[in-house]
């Protein structure tokens, strides 16, 4: 009985998800929003969703709403922190070409809410009715979990821009022989290998520019989250004595005046430059619009098309979504956006939906010339309906590689050109 009941509940769950699948195909009752898609967020996910909807059906009107007039890529921003780039200009995209090439209406505004019932996105620049809405807001920080946190003193630099510049300036101003602290939150967070790439890039900067300095890594996780063997190998090869990696050290409190952090309220560590990457949650608008699940952090979605399991006709892609086995990465967001766009176009034209197929490819630099990668191909498991990795496709580089660093440079070129044109 217990077993059967469990099965029943499981099936009920699957059935509930599938029930909305039927509904989603119905014509909208919202006439003002008919054949209109509103995309919120102009990053790795949003730009691609907007573009691939228009590429597949130019009769659908697409509006992309973004609060800034530009976007700075988080991937590769660690290279700027490490001193490998003079500024962030090569990581910055604008929207004019994307808008012109694909007939996307780009609106610079702050989204204040989504009325899921009326199918209207509310913004500082007015209301935008929709038939389908795509939400791709990236992450927000659970700063309440770190007492005293102030990003102007201890930057997160986990959203590229002024925060990234602040962290680099602090490193430049630090005295030789100083101590940098990097605090890593518990997974899941944006870009699993990112904190370890940052560790490498800061260590490289210290080795070259600040003799006698070190970096203490306080990782809330029990171990290195991604590409562990490769990072350890690179650290041993290049940064012996510079990196002090400490697992299971969760920072819970900071003292901005004395430049100390407190681990689990007990152990105090002092630094000259302190980079706190706070624990994360779905972007603000996802919370306002009621898209967040029972965990209070991330957005549950249907695997086919990333439609929210909380609100009909709203799709959540990228870091904010719970995409099964897919990591929270820029490439995942790009790939998810295409799956979402393709099925939105199918639904709006009364066609059958397509099963998802997606990729993640993510590079991390260990030194100025060496990088490593992690890859995966993802699909929907036919019985569980969850997104899973295709066996054999997930893996990391065999070794640190100069060739992979060359490929990485082309990765960032291609993906930013794809987003901006």
């Amino acid at each position: 009985m217990t077993m059967e009941r469990r099965n029943f509940l499981k099936l009920l769950g699957a059935g509930a998800g599938v029930a909305t699948l039927g509904l989603a195909g119905c014509a909208t009752t919202n006439k003002a929003g008919a054949r209109k898609v509103v995309v919120i967020g102009g990053g790795y996910g949003g730009t691609i969703a907007a573009k691939y909807i228009r590429m597949q059906d130019p009769t659908i009107e697409v509006t992309l709403i973004e609060r800034n007039d530009h976007y700075i890529s988080c991937p590769f921003s660690n290279l700027y922190i490490g001193g490998l780039m003079p500024d962030l200009s090569s990581l910055t995209i604008k929207y004019d070409q994307l808008a012109a090439n694909h007939g996307i209406k780009v609106v610079q505004a702050e989204v204040t809410g989504i009325d899921a019932k009326a199918q209207v996105v509310k913004t500082s620049a007015g209301d935008f009715p929709y038939e389908k809405c795509v939400v791709s807001p990236g992450v927000d920080f659970r700063t309440n979990e770190i007492k005293g946190y102030d990003d102007q003193v201890m930057p997160h630099a986990w959203k590229a821009g002024p925060q990234t510049v602040l962290l680099r300036k602090q490193l430049e101003a630090m005295k030789p022989g100083g101590t940098v602290i990097l605090s890593i939150p518990l997974a899941p967070y944006r870009c699993p290998p990112g904190p370890y790439e940052r560790t490498s890039m800061i260590a490289m900067y210290l080795k070259q520019n600040k003799p006698g300095s070190k970096i203490i890594v306080l990782d809330a996780n029990p171990d290195i989250v991604s590409k562990k063997g490769l990072f350890l190998k690179g650290w041993k090869k290049h940064y012996e004595g510079i990196i002090d990696y400490r697992p299971a050290k969760k920072v819970t409190e900071v003292d901005n005046k004395n430049m100390t952090v407190l681990i689990e309220g007990i152990e105090e560590v002092k630094g000259d430059v302190i980079n706190i990457i706070p624990p994360q949650k779905a972007g603000h608008i996802a919370h306002v619009a009621g898209l967040v699940g029972d965990d209070g952090k991330w957005c549950p979605v249907r695997s086919f098309d990333f439609e929210s399991r909380k609100q009909p006709n709203i799709h959540v892609i990228g870091d904010s979504s719970i995409a099964g086995a897919m990591p929270k990465s820029g490439y995942s967001a790009n790939s998810e956006a295409k799956v979402c766009a393709t099925n939105i176009v199918a639904m709006m034209n009364g066609r059958k939906m397509t099963e998802m197929s997606a990729i993640n490819t993510c590079y991390s630099y260990l030194s100025a010339k060496e990088a490593v990668s992690v890859t995966g191909v993802y699909r929907v498991n036919a019985s569980s309906q969850a997104i899973e990795a295709v066996p054999g496709s997930v893996g990391v580089s065999a070794d640190l590689s100069e060739t992979e660093a060359m490929y990485a440079e082309s990765w960032i070129r291609n993906i930013l050109v794809e987003m901006s044109s």
Binding site: E4, F8, K338, T354, S357, V390, S410
Partner: protein, 192 residues
């Protein structure tokens, strides 16, 4: 009680299956769109070390993917990603990219090396890489107009024996020097 539960479960399960059957298998588009993050929208690469796939030979694409998949061709990310696809899916992707318009890159080349590369091409390459590398013969790829950096990486791998050379090619290229490989990379990159 027991029968009631299982009956309900059955009913719901049937519903779930019928709705899932409503979605079709991944199409050529959905499979191929995923490649564009690295290889450019519709296979037109903007990254100097990454090949364009647009307009590529279908036979070559399938052959390359199957070799990555089996491990016969060594690679970095492709050796892993290729394992994520069935042979049927590889054919769909090959079709998609073969249909896209071939793009050429504006890449800086050395005119002296282009001239030198033309001689190498005429002697060793043109029987299979037709029309200065713009056309393909079955399993040979289109190489004209690819990025110089990409061509240099591949030529270097042939030169160093890291990328396996087919038998018919091995005979032709066995006498090529490092300078010849470099020159022919410039030659192909210069072709529009």
């Amino acid at each position: 009680m027991r029968r009631k539960w299982s009956g309900l479960a059955l009913a719901i399960s049937a519903f779930a299956f019928s709705a899932a059957a409503n979605a079709i298998e991944p199409t050529a588009e959905i499979l191929s769109y995923a490649c564009a993050g690295c290889h450019g929208t519709q296979g037109a690469s903007a990254g100097p070390s990454m090949p364009s796939l647009a307009g590529q030979s279908k036979v070559f694409f399938i052959d390359a993917m199957k070799k990555f998949k089996s491990g016969e061709r060594t690679g970095t990310v492709m050796a892993r990603l290729a394992k994520g696809y069935s042979d049927e899916q590889i054919v769909l992707m090959a079709d998609f990219f073969a249909k896209q318009k071939r793009t050429t890159q504006t890449t800086a080349v050395d005119p002296a090396l282009v001239a030198q590369g033309k001689v190498v091409y005429d002697n060793a390459c043109k029987r299979c890489h037709l029309e200065n590398g713009k056309e393909f013969e079955e399993d040979t790829p289109v190489v004209a107009g690819q990025w110089l950096k990409y061509l240099q990486i591949q030529m270097g791998e042939f030169r160093d024996g890291k990328r396996k050379i087919s038998e018919k090619k091995a005979e032709k290229v066995k006498s090529l020097t490092a300078a010849d490989w470099e020159a022919v990379a410039h030659f192909y990159a210069s072709q529009k």
